[in-house]
Symmetry: C2
């Protein structure tokens, strides 16, 4: 039998002190390693953007903690739209789980929190985009009930500058 040890996990708002650990998670990934800089002294914009997220009522950045360590992260954004009779959506982005804590329910716990928050805020929809290269993530989201009805398109402004 495949028994997975139960982790004592909890989700809490990220603080400024968590920024290095969050960046470590963002960088520890085949796609993230190409674009993040996890080093002893983190580039300043990471902290500037953290402050901006922290101050904004429409954005919530959280970490999953286990045994005093940051083992996962996720950002939730609430966006009001006139569509669907005037409504609000919750958008999930920047989801990462520590490689050493995969298959321990960290992702599930993060999403449980995000969906609960979306309901509390009276959102009618939770949405996310996932890079087509992340096939495992895709299956995980489908198990949660997400439907891949849309195409997620990106325009890189730096490349065109």
């Amino acid at each position: 039998m495949n028994t997975v040890p139960k982790l004592n996990l909890f989700i809490r708002p990220a603080t400024r002190d968590d920024v290095p650990e969050i960046v470590r998670l963002l960088a520890d990934d085949p796609l993230g390693s190409q674009r993040e800089k996890y080093q002893n002294s983190l580039p300043r914009p990471y902290y500037d953007v953290f402050l901006e997220i922290d101050r904004d009522l429409h954005n919530e950045l959280v970490v999953a903690e286990a045994k005093g360590e940051v083992v996962g992260t996720l950002q939730l954004t609430f966006i009001p739209y006139l569509t669907y009779l005037g409504s609000k959506r919750a958008q999930i982005e920047a989801v990462r789980v520590d490689q050493n804590y995969r298959s321990h329910g960290v992702g599930g716990k993060l999403f449980e929190w995000a969906i609960l928050r979306a309901r509390e805020e009276d959102c009618h929809l939770v949405q996310l985009t996932t890079n087509k290269a992340r096939s495992d993530a895709h299956r995980f989201y489908e198990r949660l009930g997400f439907v891949a009805s849309h195409s997620g398109m990106k325009l890189d402004l730096n490349r065109r500058a």
Copy 2:
């Protein structure tokens, strides 16, 4: 030769008085007609959400105007993320062009505005999701340089409630 009459188009922030015309555009569409209510007295949430968008510095709702009429609309949202070294993205949603003004450059003008605003706000990326059923829109975005690198997934909270 296929000459398209030049429209004198301009993009401006939407006002509360534009709400019925924006809802008309949102509803006048095979997908939108299933979910919007364009009627003489609009459901109140449309106005409530308009106020919320209007007050929020991270959201900009605009209309394209031609000959004193609203012929297009688009909403832009700026979202700060720790990813990409701490950065900001611009997200485009709720794009519609009046059926009678298709192929007059309305969509192009709306996107020109959105990309310019994204650069002004120092965004590194512009992103959107488009329903896979909208194949014309998909081609339009690709011509603008958007790459369909992601899958856009939605979880309908009402259906699961």
